[in-house]
Symmetry: C2
Subunit: 354 residues, 2 copies
């Protein structure tokens, strides 16, 4: 899933160069990292990207060799349920028994081996059972920026996969306040909702049919048009009609047989510049510097300026992102508010900066 | 006098675009303001600029109509005494009785009427007496960044100009520490040394002859070469030999008959970005903003970014100067340290940023 913009990465993320097409940590884009991570688990020809028209060109330019036919283009963004449904149609056409791994294209994962182990278990379980599986992250702090998944920890006849480390989902919880997050962390049976899913394509379409029958009916119109000259017009028409809804809210919370596999593989959704700072290497002064930066007495700051020289004097706890046409200076801890800057630019139709 | 760079205005000030060739406050460059301020006192054809080779081209480009022959080019900078001596030679050639007003090209003055009144009194006094006059600024705070002039406040036979508001100079004092500055301010007989002088050209050359005989001897070589084909080679040779010394240290502290006229005309040497912030207009949040700046909860900051959009979130007490190729982010109160950045760039031979 590589369709969003990642507004909170402004001024680096733009409509044509969204977060997942940027090098945020290390070499390679986040999308490329997401694909590379599947190496040995998924054959390259079986990797599909769901994106939009604006991003497709840039994507093909960055990823020489990626088959253009494996890029599924949504006419407009309608949140994750239609996106995943559309992808499931394409996957099922190739193989009616296919297991799908659904991954956001803009997450960071440090421990690849553990990640692959978890995906392999999830894949086996999905293949043999028709269950919906999601990957839950063992929480390390009372984070208020993520949704949570509560699990049944005990074994029982309702969970035939317990021995493999698979837990049955009790409920999905929205982003909590700090007190609730602390309670979740202490209880031991809550996991972070990573937004990564594993299931058979036919299984998720069955559950969409049960939980979102209107969406399913529309998807069936697309399904019939796949491979015909009417595909594009049908897709455009259907996407014009359907309402946006997330797979979590629309399907996962209501579906039968939903399981989660807890993982600890250094996951981060890298959802803000603060998060990038927190996962970055730092110098002795606590600074994460990228570019020609001359500093005097500068501490605990994130400075990114690949092409322009920056002089920082007496700077503390600041996030500085300096691109060719725009500059962000943000107090550390407040980078969620970058979204408001992008909203402002949009309201004022300052399109050259979007 | 328009020969320095004004390193502390980096990244705006560069070797080719020094402080006095920039618009720092209001419209027009500081040099242009300095010249415009003399309107009605000095005929435009009698205005001379002393500068260097690198700046001359840019200067002529900015000031259409300024006579190229009135730009005196020093081969190298040798501080103010040689600069003023050289200018005095040229002025004396035009008119042996001429009174010179010597002004740094990078100061700010708010009350033009009072400034002109003070200059007129100084001019008259200099013309009739052959005295050296300097303009002293009535201090408004215990500033440690300026030199001070101590005066004799009482009338007496040693001061025939007392009735005109002219005071005899007792001594020149270097930049004081805060305690001394507070003492100076409380005493009532100290003025800020503005570096502006008024005297007859022949009088200052006489005093250079008395106080700096070596310099005077060298200047006489130039004097004999003015108007001859040997002028440039003589100038180059003399400037290669002489040592740099300031007019204050070299002449004013030792000369006979030195007077000061106290003025209160909203003077500032605008010596740093902090000073620019302090003389600038501010919005309700105490910000001085120049450029496309989108702010959330930003206070008491100076932000200059004429061509690039800046988003500031939760920024306090910061100086931000964003030019096409370089960015300064400086804690307020520390802009004197900008000089260290320029020193660093020079040491590292990062000449494109100098």
């Amino acid at each position: 899933m590589a369709g969003g913009v990642g507004s909170r990465f402004w001024p680096r993320s733009r409509e044509k160069t969204p977060k997942h097409l940027l090098q945020i940590t290390g070499k390679g884009t986040m999308l490329q990292h997401t694909i590379d991570r599947l190496d040995s688990l998924v054959h390259p020809r079986d990797v599909f990207i769901v994106t939009n028209k604006v991003q497709k060109g840039q994507m093909l330019k960055q990823m020489s060799g990626f088959p253009e036919g494996n890029i599924i283009v949504e006419p407009v963004g309608r949140n994750t349920a239609p996106c995943i449904g559309l992808a499931a149609l394409h996957v099922r056409k190739l193989d009616p028994q296919a297991v799908m791994v659904v991954l956001p294209a803009d997450h960071m994962i440090k421990d690849l081996q553990e990640f692959r182990r978890v995906l392999a278990v999830a894949g086996e379980t999905a293949a043999e059972s028709g269950s919906l599986l999601t990957i839950g992250i063992k929480p390390t702090r009372p984070e208020t920026g993520y949704g949570y998944i509560q699990t049944f920890n005990e074994e029982g006849e309702h969970n035939p996969f317990f021995a493999k480390g698979v837990l049955k989902v009790k409920t999905f919880a929205e982003k909590p306040n700090l007190q609730t997050a602390e309670h979740f962390l202490a209880s031991g049976d809550f996991l972070w909702n990573s937004g990564m899913f594993v299931w058979r394509a036919d299984a998720v379409l069955d559950q969409i049919s049960r939980c979102l029958p209107d969406l399913h009916a529309e998807l069936m119109k697309i399904d019939r048009a796949i491979g015909t000259p009417q595909y594009q017009s049908t897709l455009d028409q259907v996407y014009g009609m359907i309402r946006g809804i997330s797979i979590d809210y629309g399907v996962m919370e209501k579906a039968d047989s939903v399981f989660v596999i807890p993982g600890s593989f250094g996951w981060s959704d890298v959802g803000s510049w603060d998060e990038v700072y927190s996962v970055s290497g730092k110098d002795a002064g606590g600074n994460s510097i990228n570019g020609k930066v001359i500093q005097i007495d500068t501490k605990n700051s994130f400075i990114y300026s690949p092409s322009k020289v920056v002089a920082a004097i007496g700077v503390d706890d600041l996030i500085v992102v300096n691109t060719d046409d725009a500059l962000l200076i943000c107090r550390k801890g407040r980078s969620q508010e970058v979204k408001e800057i992008v909203d402002y630019l949009r309201r004022k139709q300052m399109n050259e900066f979007l």
